[in-house]
């Protein structure tokens, strides 16, 4: 008996193997954990069940930065995955790697899939497209920044929770009132400090971050984040940091717990924070659009996205690209997008899916999930609000954060800090330009 078993097993394996050989395997590297990982696995399973020719194989590769580095290393070693999930700030790095990537729009056309770039929400695809509007990567999980509001806290401070503060001056006033009402250590705060106080601030006020349409038009871009709007905003934050009306919460989202614990009643962070708030906040909450400065003409403009997109790696046979193209068509399906959006909280990427969810009355019951979409579609994106594209953006954010930290700690004035951020950032941009355009 014992000798028979392995034989049967071996036979089963070889059968499975020959069945699999007929299929083209498509590797999909991603950085999603927990519930988001389940979404990815489910999508792959559904796609694999929907047809027989291709098999999408998702594998988790660690954090966004780890996934990007794993992909780069694999490319250098000659075995890159077909599809790689890259966070929004890695866009310039990927784009500059001509030859290492396959532009999504070209791939779809070559594979003969119907593909209309206009079907997608411009505020989302704009971030991942060239100046001419050619879509380079396929948006996957997108979010934007919103202000989370602790409604119980507002009530306690005698403020109207149904009318949360709309402008920055109103937010600062509310924060002072909240502080006096017992929220002594933090009236208002933000996660992702540069995303909130520089990147989104610029887009929301239609003020450029840099020349050449925030770097989207070319790598010879020069930073402008020491313009009056940015300096004024940081100066205000520095002044309010002294008595903790505003209190710094770090460079990434590790400070988000300050909202759910009830410490910070007003908190700017990603709309994707929703799941966490729903699970952990033991108070009445809601969210509101990001505040703006009313004295800036045209504000608010539109917000920019965060999240990640799917890049197709270069140098694969046409037959495999056909499979990837089919998979992307599968992902763009209106019903699937609508379902993905309502179940996972990711923003829908097609106009049709947004309209469909809107028509279904979903947002009447779940208004919190629409805030980010309203921000993104508030106005037609301009050169200053389509997105940003800087080489080495991950480290660039660290550099900007360092300067913001120096200003908040009182070591530099706001103007000095932002001047230094510009100088140091430009140096990085020039270095990137040198290696990218050669």
């Amino acid at each position: 008996m014992t000798t028979v078993k392995p034989l049967i097993l071996a036979a089963a394996f070889s059968l499975a193997a020959s069945a699999a050989q007929a299929q083209v395997e498509l590797q999909w590297w991603h950085a999603m954990t927990g519930a988001n990982n389940d979404v990815i696995v489910k999508l792959a399973e559904d796609f694999n069940a929907s047809q027989k020719d291709y098999k999408v194989v998702p594998s988790y590769k660690g954090s966004y930065a780890d996934t990007l580095n794993a992909g780069i290393a694999a490319y250098r070693a000659g075995n890159a995955p077909h599809i790689m999930q890259v966070f929004e700030v890695g866009t310039a790095t990927m784009m500059a790697a001509k030859g290492a990537i396959m532009p999504v729009q070209t791939m779809m056309k070559d594979a003969g899939e119907t593909f209309d770039p206009k079907a997608y929400l411009p505020a989302i695809t704009g971030y991942y497209s060239t100046v001419k509007g050619e879509m380079l990567s396929f948006p996957f999980n997108s979010s934007s920044m919103v202000m989370w509001v602790n409604r119980d806290a507002l009530r306690k401070a005698g403020l109207n929770p149904d009318q949360p503060p709309k402008t920055w001056p109103e937010v600062f006033e509310a924060a002072k009132t909240l502080k006096a009402a017992g929220f002594a250590t933090c009236g208002v705060s933000t996660a992702w400090t540069t995303w909130a106080n520089i990147e989104q601030l610029g887009a929301w006020h239609n003020v450029p971050l840099a020349t050449r349409a925030n770097g989207m038009d070319g790598f010879d871009t020069v930073l402008q984040i020491n313009a009056p709007l940015y300096v004024k905003h940081l100066e205000t934050l520095v002044a309010l940091q002294k008595d903790k009306t505003f209190d710094y919460s770090g460079r990434t989202n590790t400070g988000e717990g300050r909202f759910t614990s009830g410490e910070c009643p007003l908190f700017l962070t990603s709309s994707a924070f929703y799941g966490n708030v729903k699970a952990n906040a033991k108070f009445d909450y809601s969210n509101a659009p990001m505040p703006y400065y009313p004295d800036v003409p045209g504000a608010p403009q539109n917000s920019i996205i965060g999240g990640a997109s799917l890049w197709v790696m270069g140098g694969k046979p046409a037959a495999e690209y056909k499979g990837v193209a089919k998979f992307f068509t599968f992902l763009s399906d209106t019903d699937r997008q609508a379902k993905l959006h309502t179940e996972s909280g990711y923003l829908p990427i097609t106009k049709a899916a947004y309209e469909k969810v809107k028509a279904s009355g979903f947002y009447d019951k779940n208004p919190l999930l629409e805030t980010a979409l309203k921000e993104l579609t508030n106005k037609e994106p301009t050169e200053n609000s389509r997105g940003l594209r800087f080489g080495g953006m991950v480290q660039m954010r660290d550099v900007w954060s360092e300067e913001i930290e120096a200003a908040l700690a009182g070591k530099k004035s706001a103007k000095e800090a932002l001047d230094a951020a510009v100088a140091r950032g430009n140096e990085m941009l020039r270095k990137f330009e040198q290696t990218a355009t050669r």
């Binding site: 490319y75 710094y248 410490e263 040198q434």
Partner: protein, 293 residues
């Protein structure tokens, strides 16, 4: 008397050493030479284009005030961690070396932290000292201290020093304890009979006899602080605020892996390698002379 194995042929001894040689070649000399070569190149992250730039990467580094500050931070950090972890470990080892009830339990407890991975230790300390929710921070605030390693560079430095020291104390403790137990009791008893008090006995007999252990630990600790504290820094402060806790090895990571500047990062690791080789050489050359074996 010297023990020596006599081999008949030439082949066998070489075959026996070969695995060790291969490991050293593959895991040290090969990557090290790659780093040296890479430090002369300027390359994009994907390796699609690379250009030989000579010493340009090194020139860039030394032209920036940034780099000198990182060297300063590293020197300060390593001096503090080495001094603290050695002296605390020695103090604990001397205390544990007595006839105590349950001495084994104390010793085991003191050794435990060494089994904790640096990143885990970092996360542990990060949680305890997290400015708004951390247990220790809440206690400090209750006592009237303001504690904010997110913005205050002194607080951040204190945090990484504490975490790195805590992690290394156990290792040092283990070696000190073994060293103490190897000191013949008769010498100490003789001193006691001559009327030397415990403190005197420690400084004139125990400490000099312990010097080989101390010297070994000193070298190991310096290397530890230079390289192994990466996980702790990454998990607690990520080099912040405003680079206040960025050490040389952290900068290699943040420029190369986060920033994608492989050439500049390779140049830094070559410099780091030279510094550590030089430090170790100096330690063996000068300090070892004072060690009594």
């Amino acid at each position: 008397m010297e023990k020596r194995a006599i081999f008949q042929g030439r082949l066998l001894p070489f075959a026996l050493v070969a695995p060790q040689l291969v490991v050293t070649l593959v895991f040290f000399y090969w990557p090290a030479s790659q780093a040296v070569w890479q430090s002369f190149l300027q390359e994009d992250a994907f390796g699609l284009s690379s250009e030989f730039v000579g010493f340009a990467n090194y020139r860039d580094l030394f032209a920036k005030a940034d780099y000198y500050r990182t060297i300063g931070t590293t020197a300060f950090f390593s001096a503090l961690v080495t001094a603290l972890s050695l002296s605390i470990a020695l103090f604990l080892a001397v205390q544990a070396d007595r006839q105590l009830k349950g001495a084994t339990a104390y010793r085991t407890l003191l050794i435990w932290p060494y089994a904790v991975a640096p990143a885990v230790a970092g996360v542990l300390w990060f949680f305890m000292f997290q400015p708004s929710l951390g247990l220790v921070s809440q206690g400090l605030r209750g006592l009237g201290f303001t504690w904010n390693p997110l913005l205050d560079s002194t607080d951040a430095m204190a945090l990484v020093v504490m975490a790195a020291t805590w992690k290394q104390v156990s290792y040092n403790f283990l070696f000190f304890l073994a060293g103490l137990q190897a000191i013949p009791k008769s010498v100490i008893e003789a001193a006691a009979i001559d009327g030397a008090r415990p403190v005197r006995r420690f400084w004139t007999i125990v400490f000099p006899l312990l010097s080989p252990t101390t010297f070994y630990l000193f070298v190991v600790n310096v290397v530890y602080v230079f390289f192994d504290t990466f996980g702790i820094i990454d998990a607690t402060t990520a080099g912040g605020p405003a680079k206040a806790t960025e050490t040389l090895v952290y900068k290699v990571y943040s420029d190369g892996r986060v920033g994608g500047d492989l050439g500049g990062s390779a140049a830094q690791s070559v410099i780091l390698m030279v510094i550590v080789i030089a430090l170790t050489a100096v330690q063996f050359r000068f300090i070892e002379r004072k060690v009594q074996y």
